[in-house]
Structures are given as C-alpha cells and as structure tokens.
Amino acid sequence: MSLTKTLVINGLKRTIVLDDPRVTLLDLLRERLDLPGTKKGCDRGQCGACTVLVNGRRINSCLTLAASLDNAEILTIEGVAQGEQLHPVQDAFIACDGLQCGYCTPGQIMSAIGLIQEAQAGDDAERVREGMSGNLCRCGAYQGITQAVLDAQKVMRASKQQEVV
C-alpha cells in the first residue's frame, strides 16, 4: 500500500509517497526528507526533542503519524532562520547560554516559538517554565532557556510594533 500526500515543509510544497503507514512525522523528516535537525530523544512523547510546528501549533512529531497529515504546514528548525539571519529565538539561545550539548535545542527552540505565538505566558518566568516543561534538557540549561524565551519574546514584540508604526 502506498499513500501519496502533499505537505508544505518549511515553506516548500512537497509531494510525498509513503510506502509504509507506520512512519511517524519525525522519521519522515529525519530519514526520508533529509531534515535531521529535529531530534529523536525518547520516541515516546516524553522529552520534547522532536517538537515541530504543524499548522502553527507545537506538537511531538514522534507521536504523530505522517499518514494522517494532509496539506499541513510544517515548520522545523531548518526553516526558522532567514538565510544567514537567525530567528530571534535562536539569537536569544546563543546570547543566554540556553544550551550546552545542543541535542535538545532544536526542540526547545521550536517549542519556544510555539509558546510565544500562543501568547499565554507573558513576561511571567513561572508561566514560561511551565509552558516549556515538555522539553527536557539533560544538560540542565533551563535557566538560560527561560531567559532566552523571555528575551526573544521582548525582541519579537518590539519588532512587531515597529512594523505597525
């Protein structure tokens, strides 16, 4: 059995033929589309390393069946920078030391972008920590991560305001 579907991945429309219905979105990205930026930590929904945005919402790609997606817009870590210009969240992770080994970082960054879009946390560090609790960091870079999310959010708000003006 093969399933043909169209997905928009990092802004590019791609036609995908799935020969096996068991493929998760995570394995599709990493093993079939040459997008290994999204990481596999636990493969069971417990670590957040595989976080990507599907239609603007952060989800765990390891527990998402690729077959069930159609015409979905998927944003992965490979698609967040504009050429050489990093995304404000990426900049903030570097500036705040929001990483050590870096394995959890793509998931952290995608989760942070999702969190900022959800606009539930505001400038409350406790709400940011709770909102980021689905992303574990084995190196314990949590303090830097929380600061990075708060800082990036400020920068993104300011540049949005500039656009309006």
């Binding site: 096996d20 952060r58 989800i59 765990n60 527990l63 069946l65 069930s68 159609d70 406790e126 709770e130």
Partner: protein
C-alpha cells in the same frame, strides 16, 4: 510495530463501519495509541483515522443551555476557549495540569477519555497483565504498586485511570455521546469506564465500532463556576500524571453549601465521584471541620492494593484542600502552575 492498514473515512457512519471490523482501532491524535503500538502493547490490524471528519471539532452551547464539545476538539483549544474556561474553570485547570503544551495541542477530547492506564506492567509486554491478556495474571500485585488503586480495585487488577480531564467532568455529570453499529446513544461518563472486578481486560462499556462523537456538560454545571477547583499532586510539579487529584465545586449562599461536587483522580480505574462527601456537604456551613468529615466519608471504602496506603491519607487531605480552595473562590486566571498545591497563593495548610 506491527504494520496495519490505514483507512480514512469521510463520514461518522463510514468510520463506524470500518471500525466494526475485528482488529480495528480509531486513531485520533495518536498520542496514546502510537505509544502503545510502539511498545507492542496493542497491535491493531487497521487504523481508522477520524481526524479528518468534519463537524466534530466544535464547542457549542445548545438551546437547553448545556455545552457540547466535539470529540476532536483539542485539549489545549478547549482549555483556552475563554467562554468555556469561565463557565467550567475546574475543567480548564484539569486540562492545563495534564501532559505538556505539545501533547495538549494534539490530544483530543475523545482520546483523553479513552486513554489507557499507565500501569507499568500493562506497558511492558514481557510482564503478566490481565488487562493486556485476559487471565495472564497481574505483576503489579506484589510489584511496584505505589501509584496503584485504593478504591474499586479487584484481585485481578489494581490499575488506575490516568485522565485529569475526566475528574471534573464526572463531578459535573458529563454525558458521552456515542455512535455505533446500532445508532446513537448517550452514556453518563460515570458509567463509561469499567471497574476491573473479574474482567480487567475490558476498559469501558463501549462495543466494537462505538465512536465517541461528543461530550455534553449539563447547563446546571456552570452554576459552580465561582467556586470550582482542581488540585493534583504529582511526583514533580509539571509534566507528570496524578498521584492523587481532586475536583471540588460548591454552590454557596452566605457561607452555606447549597450543593457540592467532589471527584477523585488517580485512585481507581475510573474517575471517582465521591457522592458520600457531596451529601454530607450539602446544607451545611462551609468550614474546615465539615471538609474533614466529607473527605473521610469519601474514603471509607478505600484500602491499599500494595505499597500505597499513603494515597488514602493523601486523597483525604487533597479533598480538604480542594474544598477549601473552592470555598475561597475560583481565581480570575488559572495559576502559573495549574492545579499545583505549590502554586502561589495556595500554600497554606488547612
């Protein structure tokens, strides 16, 4: 993972027909089902993907005032729906205390109700488990059972139902709308999940092909909104299942309780409605002594199923705390740490 046939019906009727074939399972977000399939705990021959069905993703207020929530509404969407959250704040708080933002963005209402137990032996295909294989035995008896049931368990199974969402829902008399081979029917949520007794392999009263299409919260439930809380004790403050949780809701008139709702999570194989406590509370002045009596009444039948006697005392205290919090009023906004006993403002002891 065993391979399977993937089918995507376009109507509920087609979905029911496909899922009525032996070996079929409905696929919603898959956040529980795929996990179980990866571990070889379940191995369906056919997945019936219902996520593309239309009309099941709405939150609507019906003419009689009850609120109907489609089975495909995502947990996060429901929790953040301002109208819903203001009418059913304990439900929103319970949802936000469950899993993570990523999982709540995916998880559906129907899938949350039907998620399977988190008993470690159920998850481990190499262990004996009556729920996984009827008659196989139960390795949780005499095993690692700190987190297992203290109410409604049997010698055959001591597991708990892990959902937070279901706890306030059962307190508010939620009804589950089911469509199956014989048409539509309503099942009170309190009667959806089966206690283990002699047949722990059976999770719910649903029959092959039955699909949850929606749940309904009766109009009367939103009168509790000013005094409704969910409280959840976990091994860590976020991203963990409940050790014990409680939903408490009151209708108050000048300090006197007109009506009370109490339910427990993490204590039994179903969300546990504590009607004895509710009866004791109604008609009385809301104070700490009354809350203690009600909590004790809720747990008279509780008994340890292993190394978990502590859960009985914990449940008693959680009920008292949840009732006190409910009496002091629903906060304007869910705390930064939803349902946590450590959330700012709720650290006092009763």
């Amino acid at each position: 993972m065993k391979s399977f046939e993937y089918v995507r019906p376009t109507t509920v009727r087609e979905a029911v027909a496909a899922a009525s074939e032996p070996g079929s399972a409905y696929l919603a977000a898959g956040s529980n089902l795929l996990d179980l399939m990866k571990g070889g705990v379940v191995a369906p021959d056919r997945l019936v993907d219902i996520t593309h069905l239309t009309g099941l993703d709405r939150i609507e207020t019906l003419a009689n005032g009850s609120v109907r929530i489609g089975a495909l509404v995502r947990n996060a969407e429901l929790a953040h729906d301002a109208h819903f959250a203001s009418h059913f704040p304990a439900v929103a708080e319970a949802l936000l205390s469950g899993a993570t933002a990523q999982l709540r963005n995916a998880a559906t209402v129907g899938g949350n109700l039907l998620q399977r137990t988190r008993c470690g032996y159920f998850y481990d295909a190499a262990s004996a488990c009556n729920k996984r294989v009827a008659g196989a035995g139960c390795d949780a008896r005499g095993g690692d059972n700190r987190l297992h049931a203290v109410l409604g368990w049997s010698e055959n199974c001591i597991a708990t139902h892990p959902s937070d969402f279901c706890v306030p829902l059962v307190a508010f008399d939620t009804v589950v709308e089911v469509e199956g081979r014989a048409g539509k029917r309503d099942i009170p949520l309190d009667q959806l999940h089966c206690l283990p007794a002699d047949a722990p392999e059976r999770d719910t009263v649903l029959e092959r092909g039955d699909m949850i299409v929606a749940i309904r919260l009766p109009a009367a439930a939103d009168r509790f909104a000013p005094h409704s809380r969910y409280l959840k004790v976990r091994e860590r403050t976020s991203y963990a299942f409940a050790v014990v949780s409680a939903a408490a809701a009151l209708r108050l008139d000048a300090g006197r309780i007109l009506e009370a709702r109490v339910a427990l999570g993490g204590v039994a194989l179903k969300p546990w409605r504590a009607r004895e406590a509710e009866l004791l509370l109604a008609g009385n002045q809301a104070d700490a002594a009354l809350f203690h009596r009600a909590a004790t009444a809720a747990l008279v039948d509780a008994k340890p199923s292993g190394d978990n006697g502590f859960k009985i005392e914990l449940a008693r205290r959680i009920i008292v705390r949840a009732l006190s919090l409910a009496a002091s009023g629903t906060p304007a906004r869910v705390a930064a740490l939803p349902a946590s006993a450590f959330a700012s403002g709720v650290t006092h002891h009763v």
